[in-house]
Structure formats: structure tokens, C-alpha cells
């Protein structure tokens, strides 16, 4: 089966985009605030998941998931956040990008909540003991955190989450249609290892989350 796209999709200018979607209501610009207000603070305190967008010095972008218990991102004050850097695969794409280019974007989700929270700012890695102490889980503190000086925060309406039926438990049946991570990895890495074996190793590594 092949997908027939004879030419690249047409590229539009901003004027052409505006001609299609129109201008935003002037009022909507006001919902962008330059700090973490009490509503944003409440949202972050209940959010166990956030996606973190970073870019390198050349502007090459990347987005990575971050998750922990609700409130894992700490609001240090109304202009300053801290994200724990828990053990991962040590590739550290986000951290490498942040050191080159501090501009980041974050999208916070709260399970069951249709609206999401977008927070943008400038980030840097830190090992400040008082910050890491607030992230201790099961007697372990992360070795690093990402501090974020907040420049913009705003709530995003719920249409995308409604359309996606993201919180509908029935939507989880979609996962059954996908190959397991073990099958994907065995194929992608091109190594002679049984998918079940890979799957078992992955499951074992998922046991230690902190």
C-alpha cells in the first residue's frame, strides 16, 4: 500500500492563513498573563503530566513528556517553576537544548479536565538543594531540576481534548491496536532479540520509576 501525494502540500503565508481563519477576538489576548496566578497554580498542583517543548541553538525543536505525582512541577513563586529531572534514558535532549537555548513551552494536563494550561518561559538546569528537596519521592531526590522563569501563562480551551476523547476510558481500546513496545524496538533496533524478551526488560525497568 502506498500513499499517493504527487506534490508536496502547498505552503501558505501568514496572510493566506489569516484569510482562512480570521482574526482572534481582542479579548482573548487578555487571557495571556505574565505570571502564575492562583488558577494556574491550582492547575499545576493537580497536574501529573506535562509536555515540554524545547529547541536547540539552531531552532530545531523537540517535545518530551514529563510525569509524576500531581504537583510534581513546583511553583517556587509566581514567576518561577521547577521541573524535577527524574532518571530516564540519559540522552537528555531537553537539557541539552535548554543549555543552548533557554526558551521553552509547557503544556500541563489534568486527567478528566478538558482545558489545559500553557506556560512559556526561559529555563536553565539547577541542582539547588532546596529545590531538589521539594521533589524527594520515596526517599530519593532527583539529581537535577529545570528552573523556569515564567514569561507567559494561559488556559487553552477544551476543544482538542473533547475532539480527541482523551479522558474517555473507552478510548484506551486504541492501545490494543498497536504493536507492543518490545515488537517496535526489536524491529527498529534491528537486533536479534525476541520481542518478549525486550518487553520483559522494559517492564523490569518500569518497576523503578524514581
Amino acid at each position: 500500500m502506498t500513499t499517493h501525494v504527487r506534490t508536496r502540500p502547498r505552503r501558505l503565508s501568514l496572510d493566506e492563513v489569516r484569510a482562512k481563519i480570521g482574526e482572534p477576538e481582542p479579548m482573548l489576548e487578555n487571557k495571556k498573563i505574565d505570571h502564575i496566578d492562583r488558577f494556574a497554580r491550582m492547575f499545576i498542583a493537580h497536574s501529573p503530566f506535562m509536555s515540554l517543548a524545547t529547541a536547540d541553538a539552531a531552532g530545531r525543536a523537540d517535545c518530551s513528556p514529563r510525569g509524576d505525582y500531581p504537583g510534581f512541577v513546583k511553583v517556587l513563586d509566581e514567576n518561577l517553576l521547577a521541573i524535577p529531572d527524574r532518571p530516564g534514558n540519559r540522552i537528555a535532549d531537553s537539557l541539552c537544548n535548554i543549555v543552548e537555548n533557554p526558551e521553552i513551552g509547557m503544556l500541563f494536563l489534568v486527567p478528566g479536565m478538558r482545558e489545559s494550561l500553557r506556560v512559556n518561559g526561559r529555563a536553565y538546569p539547577t541542582d539547588e538543594p532546596d529545590v531538589l528537596a521539594r521533589m524527594r519521592t520515596e526517599a530519593k531526590a532527583p539529581a537535577l531540576a529545570i528552573a523556569v522563569e515564567v514569561t507567559e501563562a494561559y488556559f487553552h480551551c477544551g476543544r482538542a481534548l473533547l475532539r480527541s476523547r482523551l479522558w474517555d476510558p473507552a478510548s484506551q481500546a486504541l492501545a490494543d491496536e498497536l504493536p507492543s513496545a518490545g515488537e517496535v524496538a526489536a524491529a527498529q533496533f534491528g537486533v536479534d532479540i525476541a520481542p518478549e524478551q525486550f518487553e520483559a526488560a522494559l517492564e523490569a525497568s518500569y518497576r523503578k520509576l524514581f
Binding site: P48, G71, R134, R207, K208
Partner: protein, 302 residues
């Protein structure tokens, strides 16, 4: 777990709130002075708080919570976001700090460490026993219940504000301690250290609300055999016994996961244990969240 509704949340001192939790399904489980409960917060965190109300009141539990500027999300959540009407699951009371029979008592409380001492002092006075309290805190405004203690017990209560007067003279208190009098101390680590240095260990009972800093041998992998279920579970060097048991499907209850609350107590049948908790395990028992095997293998009554 017991279902409760948050009846009231009131400031009782600078950065301290008192919570009154009402049983949602009738009377709450009974408790003795010194007991604490785990409170399950909406943000998935579980925190331990000493019961500081009246044990004869079976309708409600009272706890008091100090806001910790280094909060990981427990006290901060309670102070910022909890409002009356919220449903909260609360564990059955556990008592790692029971009031043992004695001819008299000296209570030493530091700051929020006053909470377990409140019902203890009340019980001792009600029993007609000589009991006194030295209650230390940075400044009067930071000390919950100081006023009501003074008015209820008069000169039996001494309030020491450390900012003005420094720490109480524990050596002097120890020198005038009557034989047989038991000393109960709950407070910050620095106070416990000073108290432990001043009083004879046999007469002293302490409770910590934060793990004591300790140094241990490097973590080693070990194996545990569960005698009742016949299961064997491997515990990796970077894993905890509690985590390994729970992932293997061996049921063990858990709370703080850092050796303070005592929820994950298990019975050890064979093997040597390095106890890393702050509860103080009885002979033949261990706390699976932090304690480990000293040798390659333990046999557990699980």
C-alpha cells in the same frame, strides 16, 4: 481506610492549620494518646499526622499541620487547596508513641511536635498523675495551642520562646527528674538530639516527624523468601524491599515510604536486618520501605 469529610480547617498559629475530620460512615476508629493517622490527599500523597483532639470524641479526628517551605506537596496542598467539605480517606490510627504507665510524666514539645503531646498531657492530668510540659517554639505566634494549654493547665505548662530565651535547659530538667518519671519528646531533629543527650535512654520516649539523617553501608541486592506464600523475590541494589514485594504481587501495606509512619511493618523469620527506619522496629520485625538485609537472604512471614 476510613472515609471522612473535612469539617473545618482553621489557622491555629502562624503557618499552622488545624483540620477537623468527621467520619462519613458513623463513628471513627478509637485511638490512644500518641497515635497518628495517614491522610490520603487528593494529589496522591499520603501524610502522617498525630491525632491531637479528644480520644473520647468518636465523631471527629483533629490534626494540625505546619506549612513546610520545603514541602513536597503535602503541607502545601493542605494549606493552599483543602477546603471544608472535601472528602479525605484516613487510615486506622497507629501508635508508635504510646503513653506507657508511669508515676509521672515530663512532656517536651517543639513547635508542631506539640500535637501528640496534647492528648497525652490531658490523659495524664485526668489520671491525677504529676505531669508537666515544656513547650518550645521560635516565637509565641508560631506555637499552636499555647494559649489553651496555659489556661487549661496553668503552671504545669512552661512556654519557651527560643528566639528570645534560647533552647530549654534540658540538662537542668534531667537533673531534677523524679525517679520513674517518663519523658516524652516530639519536636524537630535538633531538639531530639539535645534531649537524647540529656536524658537517660530508659526514661525517654521520642517521636520524629522527619527521618533522621543517617549513614548506611552501600545498598546490596538480596533475596527474600516469603514463608507463607512460598514466593521468592529478588531485591535489586537500587530497589526497596517494599517496592520489590509490591511489584511481585505480595500484599504489603505502605504509607510514607521513608521509614517514619510504620505502615509497612513485616515479620522477619530468618536473616539479619539493617534497620533504617525512625519508628524503631520490635524484635523480629522490620519496615520494608527503607530497611534492608545485611546478608544475602531474609525469610519473611508473608
Amino acid at each position: 481506610m476510613q472515609r471522612t469529610l473535612l469539617d473545618r480547617i482553621d489557622p491555629v498559629a502562624e503557618d499552622v492549620v488545624s483540620l477537623v475530620l468527621r467520619g462519613a460512615d458513623g463513628p471513627l476508629a478509637p485511638w490512644e494518646p500518641g497515635a497518628h493517622v495517614d491522610v490520603a490527599l487528593p494529589n496522591w500523597l499520603t501524610r502522617q499526622y498525630s491525632l491531637c483532639g479528644d480520644p473520647t470524641d468518636r465523631e471527629t479526628y483533629r490534626v494540625a499541620v505546619r506549612y513546610d517551605p520545603l514541602s513536597r506537596g503535602g503541607s502545601e496542598y493542605i494549606h493552599r487547596f483543602l477546603r471544608p467539605g472535601r472528602a479525605l480517606d484516613v487510615s486506622l490510627p497507629r501508635n508508635n508513641f504510646p503513653l506507657d504507665p508511669a508515676p509521672g510524666y515530663l512532656f517536651l514539645a517543639g513547635g508542631i511536635g506539640i500535637t501528640p503531646v496534647l492528648p497525652m498531657l490531658r490523659a495524664a492530668v485526668a489520671a491525677g498523675l504529676p505531669a508537666s510540659l515544656v513547650y518550645a517554639g521560635r516565637a509565641a505566634a508560631t506555637m499552636p495551642f499555647a494559649g489553651e494549654l496555659r489556661s487549661a493547665y496553668g503552671d504545669a505548662v512552661r512556654i519557651v520562646t527560643t528566639q528570645e530565651h534560647g533552647r530549654p535547659d534540658f540538662a537542668a530538667l534531667a537533673a531534677e527528674l523524679a525517679p520513674g518519671t517518663l519523658v516524652y519528646c516530639c519536636g524537630p531533629a535538633s531538639m531530639l538530639t539535645a534531649v537524647e543527650a540529656a536524658f537517660p535512654p530508659g526514661q525517654l520516649r521520642t517521636e520524629r516527624f522527619q527521618p533522621a539523617p543517617k549513614v548506611f553501608a552501600p545498598d546490596q541486592a538480596f533475596e527474600v523468601a516469603c514463608a507463607r506464600s512460598g514466593r521468592t523475590v529478588q531485591v535489586d541494589a537500587d530497589d526497596s524491599l517494599l517496592n520489590a514485594l509490591q511489584h511481585a504481587g505480595v500484599p504489603v501495606s505502605s504509607g510514607c515510604r521513608e521509614g517514619v509512619c510504620g505502615s509497612c511493618e513485616i515479620t522477619v523469620l530468618e536473616g539479619e536486618v539493617e534497620h533504617r527506619d525512625d519508628v524503631g522496629a520490635d524484635e523480629g520485625r522490620m519496615f520494608a520501605c527503607v530497611s534492608r538485609a545485611l546478608g544475602p537472604r531474609l525469610v519473611l512471614d508473608l
